[in-house]
C-alpha cells in the first residue's frame, strides 16, 4: 500500500531541505522509532528536519504523489504512540522550527513555531511577567506542536484548562501541501467551522501544525501548596468535589495513592511525615492577593480536615512548593521505572472519581494485576498504571487485555472516557469503540479521508479506515 523509500526519494528530499537535514544514520533512526509509550519501537526509513512551512509543503506534495507515509514528531514524549512511524516512511522532526515569532503584550498573545520546547516558551513569556499555564509533566522536553496535536493537559488544567483553551490560531500544512491559517489573535471568531480546534487533539493525522497563536495571561504573583494525607483513598477522592462546591478555585488538585507516593519519594530521595498514608491530595492555589490566598489555603485545609484528612501540611516558599511538586512530578517516572507497565488515562466527571478509583482497584485485584494510581483529581482524570511486577510473561499477556477492557467499560459506565490527555494514538486504538459510537467513528473516518485522501499522514493512528 505504501512505497518504500528509494535512493531517488532520498535525494529528492535532500533537494528540498538540504543534505544535512535528511538523516538515515542508525542513531537518528533509533531515536525516531520510539517515544515514551511503553517499549514500542517502529523504525522510520528516514528522519527529515524541515526548516520552513514551504519545505514541509514540498515534502507533503511529494509524499502524497509517491504514497510515502509521513509522521510528524515533536519532543517524542507521547504516551499513546502518536509520533511513532508504524508504517515506516518519513519522520518529520520539527526541532529546527523553534522560534518565538512574537510576544504581543498589548493583545496578550504569542505567535510561535511549533518546534519550541514548552518550558522554554513558558520561561520566555514569564520573563515579561506573562503566563502560559498548560504544564504537561513532560514540559521540559515536549514541544508546543506535540501539545497541540495531543491536546495536552497537566495539573493546572483544573483551573486554566488544557492546550485547546490557549490556542486561537494555527498555521497548518495539509497533506496535499496547501498551507492554511485558521483563526488568529481573536477572542471571538464565528466564521464557518472551527478548523483551528479540529486540528487540536488530531494527533498529527490531519495536517502538520507549523505555527500557533497562543493566548497568554499575566502571571499570578503568589501560590501555595497543601498536601493532605488520608488513611482512606475513597475519602480523599470524595473531598475533591467539596473543594469546588465551597467556592475554591485551586490551580491544581492532584491525587496520589500510597504506592505512587512511596515510589515517588524513593525516586526523588525525600521523606514526608505521613508517607505511609493510604492517599494524598496535593492542592495548589494561586492568586495576586497574598492575604486572600492565605484565607483560601486555610479553607482548603479545613475542607480536607472535615473530609477526614489525618494531616495537612503547607508549603509556601518557592523552595518548599518546588519540593512538593518534585514529588508529584516524579511519580510517573518512579512508577514506570518500577516494572514493565501499561498506563491507562481514565477520566470521569469529577464527582465520580471515588467510584472510578474503587472500581479500578477492585477490577485489578480480581484479575490479580498490580495497579498504581495517581492523577489530576480535580479533572476526574486518573492515571492507572498496570504493573507486570512479579507476573510471568504469559500471565501478563493473558491478564492485561481483559483488565484494560473492564477498566474502560467501568469508566464509560460512569460517564467517562478512555483518554483524558494522552490520546488514542496507536496504543489505545483497539479500545476506541468502547467510548465512541459507530456513527461518530464514521464521521471521524470521513474527516480523515477529506483531509488526507491518500492516507499518508501519520497512518495507522487514532482510527482505521475499516472497523
Amino acid at each position: 500500500m505504501f512505497t518504500p523509500l528509494s535512493d531517488i526519494h532520498l535525494s529528492h528530499l535532500r533537494s528540498i531541505v538540504g543534505d544535512e537535514f535528511v538523516l538515515t544514520d542508525p542513531e537518528s533512526i533509533d531515536y525516531a522509532s520510539r517515544d515514551e509509550t511503553e517499549d514500542l519501537c517502529f523504525p522510520p526509513e528516514c528522519v527529515v528536519r524541515p526548516g520552513t512551512p514551504g519545505e514541509i509543503s514540498a515534502i507533503m506534495k511529494f509524499a502524497s504523489a509517491e504514497k510515502i507515509p509521513v509522521t510528524p514528531r515533536g519532543g517524542g514524549t507521547g504516551l499513546s504512540g502518536g509520533a511513532l512511524p508504524v508504517h515506516g516512511g518519513i519522520v518529520l522532526y520539527m526541532d529546527r522550527m523553534h522560534e518565538i515569532i512574537e510576544i504581543d503584550e498589548g493583545n496578550l498573545f504569542a505567535v510561535v513555531e511549533t518546534g519550541i520546547i514548552t518550558e522554554m516558551f513558558q520561561d520566555a513569556v514569564e520573563k515579561v511577567g506573562l503566563f502560559y499555564p498548560p504544564d504537561p509533566a513532560s514540559r521540559g522536553t515536549c514541544f508546543i506542536g506535540g501539545n497541540i496535536a495531543e491536546n495536552a493537559g497537566g495539573p493546572r488544567a483544573v483551573k486554566y484548562g488544557v492546550t485547546k483553551d490557549w490556542v486561537y490560531g494555527l498555521e497548518v500544512v495539509l497533506p496535499n501541501g496547501e498551507i492554511i491559517n485558521p483563526g488568529g489573535k481573536l477572542l471571538k471568531n464565528v466564521t464557518g467551522y472551527n478548523l483551528t480546534q479540529l486540528f487540536i487533539g488530531s494527533e498529527g493525522t490531519l495536517g502538520v501544525i507549523t505555527k500557533a497563536v497562543m493566548k497568554l495571561i499575566p502571571k499570578p504573583k503568589f501560590s501555595a501548596v497543601l498536601l493532605a494525607a488520608f488513611d482512606d483513598p475513597h475519602a480523599a477522592c470524595r473531598t475533591v468535589p467539596v473543594l469546588f462546591r465551597e467556592g475554591l478555585d485551586p490551580s491544581a488538585c492532584e491525587f496520589m495513592e500510597r504506592d505512587a507516593m512511596q515510589m515517588a519519594l524513593g525516586h526523588v530521595e525525600k521523606t514526608l511525615p505521613n508517607s505511609d498514608a493510604a492517599a494524598h491530595l496535593l492542592i495548589e492555589i494561586d492568586g495576586n492577593d497574598e492575604n486572600r490566598l492565605a484565607e483560601e489555603i486555610e479553607k482548603a485545609g479545613m475542607v480536607c480536615d472535615e473530609g477526614g484528612a489525618i494531616d495537612v501540611i503547607l508549603a509556601e516558599s518557592g523552595q518548599r512548593v518546588n519540593e512538593i511538586w518534585d514529588i508529584r512530578r516524579g511519580a510517573g517516572e518512579a512508577v514506570k521505572s518500577h516494572s514493565i507497565y501499561k498506563e491507562e488515562d481514565t477520566v470521569v466527571p469529577r464527582a465520580k472519581l471515588p467510584d472510578l478509583f474503587v472500581g479500578v482497584k477492585k477490577i485489578c485485584a480480581d484479575r490479580r494485576v498490580r495497579s498504581v494510581c495517581y492523577g489530576h483529581a480535580g479533572d476526574g482524570n486518573l492515571h492507572v498504571n498496570l504493573l507486570k511486577d512479579t507476573l510471568t510473561d504469559e500471565e501478563w499477556a493473558s491478564r492485561l487485555p481483559p483488565t484494560i477492557t473492564e477498566i474502560f467499560k467501568h469508566c464509560v459506565s460512569l460517564g467517562g472516557t478512555i483518554s483524558g490527555e494522552h490520546g488514542i494514538g496507536w496504543s489505545q486504538k483497539e479500545y476506541l469503540k468502547l467510548a465512541v459510537s459507530e456513527p461518530e467513528l464514521n464521521l471521524m473516518r470521513g474527516i480523515k479521508k477529506l483531509f488526507d485522501p491518500h492516507g499518508i499522514l501519520n497512518p495507522g493512528k487514532v482510527i482505521d479506515n475499516r472497523n
Binding site: K221, F222, L226, L227, T271, P273, E290, A294, E298, G301, M302, C304, D305, D311, V312, I313, L314, A315, E316, S317, G318, Q319, R320, N322
Partner: protein
C-alpha cells in the same frame, strides 16, 4: 529550657529582584523566612521536643509585613515571638544585631539559634553581632549540634569538619544539613493564631538611631555575561590557541 530563634524575612529564593534607579525593586515580590533560619527553628523544636519541656521564642526585626514570617514559624511549632517593628527594612547587620541583643537580654534564653546568614544579602554578620553585644560565644556554619551540661558541641562545616565546644548561652549559626525542616501543618497554622507575639519598637528599646556605620548607597545589575564562542572541528585548534594567547591571555 528557653531557646531563642532569630529569623529574617527575605525575598523568596525563587523571586526575581529588579534594580531601578539605584534601588532594589521588591514590589510584588514574594517573601519567605530565610531557609537557613528554618534550620534554626527546626533544631530548636527538636531540642525542646526531646527534652519534653521548655519553649521556643522567635525574634525578628523589621517592618510590619514580617508578621507573616513570624506566623510561619509559630505554625511550625514555636511557642511565641518578639517582633521589633521598624518602619523600613534594617539593612545594617550591626544595627539589627544591636536591636535583637537588647530584646534578647530581657528574655535571657539558654541558647540562641539563627541561620548562619540571610539568603538575601549573604552577609552572615547579624548572629555574630548579637553574640558580641551580649558578650557570649558564637559558632557559625553548624551542621551538627549536641547539648550537654550547659555546653554545646558544634560541628562546623569547613574543608575539614571542626568540632567546637562552647559554654551556653551561645549563638549558633545553622547551616544546611543540620536537619530537614518540617512543613507547617494546618493544625499548627490554627494554633499559631492564638500564640502571643510581643511587639516593640526601636524607640521603646531606646535604640532609635543605633550603631549604623555602613549604608547601601547604590544598587546596579551586573553586566550580563558575553555569549560564549564555539569552535568546531580539529582545524579550529590553531585559532583557539591564538585567542587563548592574545585575547584571554591565559597561555
Amino acid at each position: 529550657m528557653k531557646i531563642a530563634v532569630l529569623i529574617k524575612y527575605c525575598p523568596d529564593s525563587e523571586a526575581v529582584i529588579k534594580v531601578s534607579d539605584g534601588k532594589l525593586d521588591t514590589s510584588g515580590v514574594k517573601y519567605s523566612v530565610s531557609p537557613y533560619d528554618e534550620y534554626a527553628c527546626e533544631e530548636a523544636l527538636k531540642i525542646i521536643e526531646a527534652k519534653g519541656e521548655g519553649e521556643v521564642v522567635v525574634f525578628n526585626v523589621g517592618p510590619q509585613k514580617n508578621a507573616k514570617g513570624i506566623k510561619d514559624e509559630l505554625a511550625r511549632g514555636a511557642d511565641r515571638a518578639v517582633h521589633i517593628v521598624t518602619d523600613a527594612e534594617v539593612t545594617c547587620p550591626r544595627y539589627a544585631g544591636e536591636l535583637l541583643a537588647a530584646a534578647l537580654k530581657e528574655e535571657n534564653p539558654d541558647l540562641i539559634l539563627c541561620g548562619w546568614k540571610g539568603i538575601d544579602y549573604d552577609l552572615g554578620v547579624t548572629g555574630i553581632k548579637v553574640a558580641e553585644y551580649l558578650g557570649i560565644p558564637h559558632v557559625m556554619i553548624v551542621t551538627k549540634l549536641e547539648l550537654s551540661d550547659g555546653k554545646a558541641n558544634c560541628t562546623r562545616q569547613s574543608d575539614i569538619d571542626e568540632v567546637i565546644e562552647v559554654a551556653l548561652p551561645a549563638v549558633i549559626g545553622t547551616q544546611k544539613g543540620l536537619n530537614e525542616p518540617r512543613y507547617p501543618s494546618l493544625k499548627g497554622i490554627m494554633k499559631a493564631k492564638k500564640k502571643p507575639v510581643k511587639t516593640t519598637t526601636p524607640a521603646e528599646i531606646g535604640l532609635e538611631r543605633g550603631d549604623v556605620r555602613a549604608e547601601y548607597t547604590d544598587f546596579a545589575q551586573p553586566p550580563s555575561k558575553q555569549a560564549g564562542k564555539k569552535f568546531e572541528g580539529p582545524e579550529s585548534a590553531a585559532e583557539v590557541v591564538k585567542l587563548l594567547r592574545e585575547e584571554a591571555k591565559v597561555i
